[in-house]
């Protein structure tokens, strides 16, 4: 029961953070799905598998934060490269600010608990 609650909590926390991580990755350089999934698999704490990353990429694109373009690949079928749009770059900047503020706030509240 506690494991289930912990998993639910983790899933909720990761949900929003994954968006921030993906936007950051794409902001560094234009990249494609397989590369994004491989990069994210190096941080298993995010638990970002194919089944979460790809649908999220489509949503970010539909929201106008990402643009796509097809490019040839040696592997056979073409790759779909993602890039931040102007709106995407602004959104990422805002999220980073929010994230820093949240981390600070959480740290203060956790430390406060320790003191008392």
């Amino acid at each position: 029961m506690t494991t289930k609650q912990r998993e639910d909590w983790l899933a909720q926390v990761r949900r929003g953070l994954l968006e921030l991580c993906i936007l950051t990755l794409i902001g560094q350089e234009s990249t494609y799905g397989y590369e994004i999934v491989t990069q994210l698999s190096r941080t298993p704490q995010l638990a970002a598998g194919e089944g979460t990353v790809y649908p999220l990429l489509r949503r970010l694109r539909r929201d106008g934060l990402l643009s796509t373009r097809w490019k040839e690949s040696d592997a056979g079928p073409p790759r779909q490269y993602y890039e931040l749009t102007v709106a995407g770059r602004q959104h990422l900047g805002a999220l980073r600010g929010d994230w820093t503020a949240i981390v600070d706030a959480v740290r203060i509240s956790l430390e406060g608990e320790n003191v008392t």
Partner: protein, 191 residues
Amino acid sequence: MSYQSNPAIDRYLTTLSRELADMAEPERTEVVGEIRNHAAEAVRAGEEPAAIIERFGDPRQLAGAYKMELAVKSSRGPLRRVARFFAMLGLAAITSLMSFIVIVVLGAFTLAFTLGGVASIVGGILSLVLPGDIIMSALPIPQTISELLAIGFGVLMVIGGLVSGVLLFFYVRMVARAFRHTVGSLRSGRR
């Protein structure tokens, strides 16, 4: 290194594409193309097709994840649901009338032809083997020929009966699939 498609991966992509039937083009093609590229890149990196497919997860679940993620911003949900409902209603109206005729006719054919054919074959053989004539020929032809004719027609009837049976089976399966598909999209549209 040239790209070779893998049957298991192709099958996965076909199922995924079918499960994404609700998604508008060209998005659906792009989504499937993106997953196809991922599989190819992973194969090239030396991964086993079975392991790649396992990480994608059940195609129905993956399609569901797309729908859930994209439904967040979809405003035409309720209208679509109404449209689906009428599609279902139409399907039910058409197929129920058709099914009544098709099932009754094909069912009767299957039963009558198979049983009649078997009876004719058995009768013909018995009449041929046993002493005395079981089959009374109404035609001015020799007894043996009319017995052979009975066996021959019997075989044709059984074949006819079995063909009707197979047709009936395919019809029922087709209708069941059409219903499952429409009901399925009705359900997923409700999210």
